[in-house]
Symmetry: D2
Subunit: 335 residues, 4 copies
């Protein structure tokens, strides 16, 4: 099977190329970026020396389509949909890592991404690429909307609790993320001296990932979520750690909650529910999502902690997991 990556020079695109190069059941045949001339990828990123001789080319839909069966789009929001619809027309499968097909409600899209959705037709075909919730649909999808990094960490933490109607609608999520989530940008805020030994909250209650979490959980559980989400930037090389505060409708015990999570996720290859309060470093560099929890003395209030590598389970890793599902091969291949 042949695959292409458009947008191979962002953090996510680079990670995707890395995984695909060592994946035993696919060939990476085409990679592109906003470059004007083809340029050796290992020239752009010397860490790919002796790993690939691929050139990074200017985006070219026809060429990509001619060379590949599955197309990964690691393009900026609002750009991606212009490419996706054309690849779909050419009969290609598309795994889109942008936000463009995550929200089925295009009004919400406009509200959070400040632009009209230009491909509402395909929006309806898109399957949300969170395997733990949508595996059977992913298998047959033409267009997979790879989840956002924050949403992955939150949805996996809240899904069993909402599905079982255990918690109240108001949930507070305090997330901590590596700055790599913001993309490879030359801005002074991301300068080493502004991130190192620093820490801050941003976009409190209005981060663009908020509606995604609410919509997906509604679709799968029928429950409304009143999400209060505040993300933070912390000085780590990779990862997201989400701390979700929930009120239980009835008194719970630690062992009941743990049993519930284990039941939901015991067969999931990438979800681990075996510890109390999890540590981020255990998932960095992997496609795992680790989930832990603790209840207060009353048994009516609890905290769920969930963590992922934002560029892997939160982006490129999930994309490859989705591809594996599409191909009908072992989901863990290459991950």
């Amino acid at each position: 099977m042949k695959v292409a990556v458009l947008g191979a020079t962002g953090f996510t695109g680079e990670k995707l190329v890395d995984i695909l190069l060592s994946h035993r059941q696919v060939d990476l045949t085409y990679i592109s970026s906003r470059t004007e001339e083809p340029i050796l990828y290992s020239k752009l990123f010397p860490r790919f020396l002796k790993k690939t001789d691929l050139k990074c080319e200017p985006h070219n839909i026809e060429k990509a389509a001619a060379l590949s069966d599955i197309i990964f789009l690691s393009l900026p929001h609002t750009v991606s949909m212009e490419y996706a619809c054309r690849f779909l027309k050419l009969g290609k499968k598309v795994i889109d890592l942008s936000a463009d097909y995550r929200l089925s409600d295009s009004a919400l899209y406009k509200k959070f991404y400040k632009v009209d959705h230009s491909d509402k037709t395909n929006l309806k075909r898109a399957v949300y690429g969170l395997p733990e919730l949508f595996r059977s649909k992913i298998k047959k999808a033409d267009l997979i909307a790879n989840p956002g990094c924050y949403p992955t960490s939150m949805i996996l933490a809240l899904y069993p609790l909402m599905k079982e109607s255990l918690i109240k609608a108001e949930v507070i999520v305090d997330s901590k993320s590596s700055i790599t989530g913001a993309g490879r940008k030359a801005v002074i805020d991301y300068h080493y001296s502004n991130i190192s030994d620093n820490l801050w909250a941003y976009k409190a209650f209005n981060h663009q990932h908020t509606p995604e979490v609410i919509e997906i959980l509604k679709a799968k559980t029928g429950k409304s979520l009143n999400l209060k989400f505040v993300p933070h930037v912390v000085p780590i090389g990779a990862g997201i750690y989400s701390t979700s505060y929930v009120s239980f409708l009835k008194k719970q015990t630690f062992s009941k909650v743990k049993a519930l999570f284990q039941r939901y996720y015991k067969d999931e290859p990438f979800i681990r529910v075996n510890q109390e309060l999890v540590k981020l470093k255990n998932v960095v560099g992997t496609n795992f999502c680790d989930i832990g929890f603790s209840l207060d003395e009353t048994g009516k209030f609890g905290v769920i902690v969930s963590c992922i590598d934002n560029l892997l389970k939160g982006a490129a890793g999930a994309a490859v997991q989705n591809m594996n599902i599409l191909l009908g091969i072992d989901e863990k291949t290459g991950l």
Copy 2:
């Protein structure tokens, strides 16, 4: 005025020595630790070379009392109270940086610190050393219980809101702290490779600082606080960042909340309320507490972010601020 520091080799003690050495209105005359023989402090900590020739001595209450008027106790919890009572008997003023005199309820003390309080008499005399709330009492105190680092960040964030009866009792605080808050200990969990690029929640809902926050806010506002507190360790050299989630009893606006905080703190030398969402690095190395906030669309829910340097405003800096108040000099001296 002559001062002594008992417990000069912990992170807090070292910081205290540093501040006191460059303080123009006091002389640091005595420092001690669990050392067996007197040893040059600059031998223990080469960064004090050409700054002091003081020797760090084995603890000796009589000697410390003979040489000093004000005694800083930077000793472990449960040890401190054994020293404090003896210095008080000798007529010395004591600023205690441990938890031993923070909780007026000795039953709570036993619950969280696992030991009977051995100095209940002096417990009644102790004044909680948070200048912004207890300045007039601190002026006349013999025994000052310097606040915990987490409580300082939380109390300053919640006090105006509770005093004005603006918020519901249930408040969630998600704090992020430097590992220095755990003391200078040779344990594998604090090894560089376990902290760097890592992050985790700990002691969810049962951290020993929880009752301190509740008790102090009750004493000053008359209101009960149903505090859900979850601290986290993050890879930063210094600092605490507390994110407090509050539900307003009535709809609020950003400008009203900001005006309230500014009114409460405008004359406070070390509290700054001028930004939206604050960044930790602005307070690292200083005695400031920066406070910011954001409200959600409904105006009924908000987040307060407050940050301090855990070893300064959260410990040694606050102790010196308290000393300055005791001495009746400019509170900012040496800070």
Copy 3:
């Protein structure tokens, strides 16, 4: 093929377990440590949850030998030789990651490791496990002495220059290393707050890796090396970066030096010589050694920079590369 790891709880042992678990052509059947009771490895290191159900057992030579064909010893110096000789007697192949069989001169061993060598017989059979220099011997070895981390970075940088008699004997090497090279130890010097934002030289001119470099290069090039080696600890999660200063016997040019290195290493799967001054991060997490260089205006003096991941090409990665050679399979398998 079945393999065992003795000493599975150090940084190197853990990395080795990680690589071997995902290696497609071997089965990891036995792991051990100084534990008193068998304990799930994923209990010790939660990052191995859903990756292995192996238990870490107390060291047991008979059991390890019964279960495995190739034995990795990731034990402390001086302990390793006691185990190696017994496994060899049982007809097992041994890959030793300690320093015990690196120096063929047991007097040098005593000088630097402060103990008599207790297994001089096998010392003679040991092959130095640097594939780039000893591949053909490794193929047939029973006992492989896996190189030290610093020596790997230095020998690969100096070998072509010495072999071609291009440089004077006196070479200065200034190395920078992650603290993980010192092992997983609970000492206050390795506390996060002592490593982060810090940097220092140590063991100047008397680091125990010095004689290893000299002896190996003498053996392979016939030349004497007057090595002035000063290692430094820097705040990085992984890696070694060695900066070697050399005086050329005759005037050289950048392109001649580059061509020489490329000639020596063009077929080496893990050595890359395509850049000017290399960056550490390109090799972190890989088994690569990147080499770069620069000459001064005179053409008679130059600097060679070489970097590796100290736990991979500098330890566990090299050990697996050696195993692959022993097994006659693709050297890159699993790496």
Copy 4:
């Protein structure tokens, strides 16, 4: 005494403003940058809230001169000399933190800074602002060329050895620096993810600070220095650590070398020579230069390690030390 800072928004300028604001014997009356409109400095840098109400203004030589007696120029190389000459004409004292007046040889200036020197007249009046070597000249200077950060660390390490004719001309210096030395720039190379856990050599043998070291040491010792200088970027928040490799003309001992350094620097307020191999963190946040050393077995070769905070002793701290000397007050004031 009134002082001004032109270029108050770079790393060095910001540090300078910080020191001058808390300096008890000067008033900071004017600060400027490339801003188009005056803007509150605390708006640009919130960490200055409640510390200053100064506005950062567009550069205005007349206004600065009207308000101040001593002018600090923290401007880019080649820009600074255009301002310095005009302030000198107005009778002001100038402390220039750029490289513009460090090299008395304007041909060297052109070679390394790629531009003709436009103020050769004043170049002759400039005094090199390294107090330990030029204190008496600094006292009477009109124009002080504040040293470069790397040169400060190197010159202080080599001066006693060269002055006493103890070492050969060829000296190798391997320096490790915080990226803050490169200035506050929004470039992708300085992004957190490119610095953290990374490390690299750059500008080997052709860094622009090289001639400065050679020229100053020649001027003060009469000796030629054949300097081989290779700087490295390491992931630290602040600081420079220079490792200098020297060959002694005659066999030396550790105690003789130590005694020599102590004799030269015992009265220096900011130089400490009391340890073997020094650690960077002891000088971070201070104006100290710590110097240590080690000799090899032969006694004919040694390493000198010297470290400073690159923005303090390496820039803003040194500038204030120079100002204190100019003013005839205690050199340590404000530092």
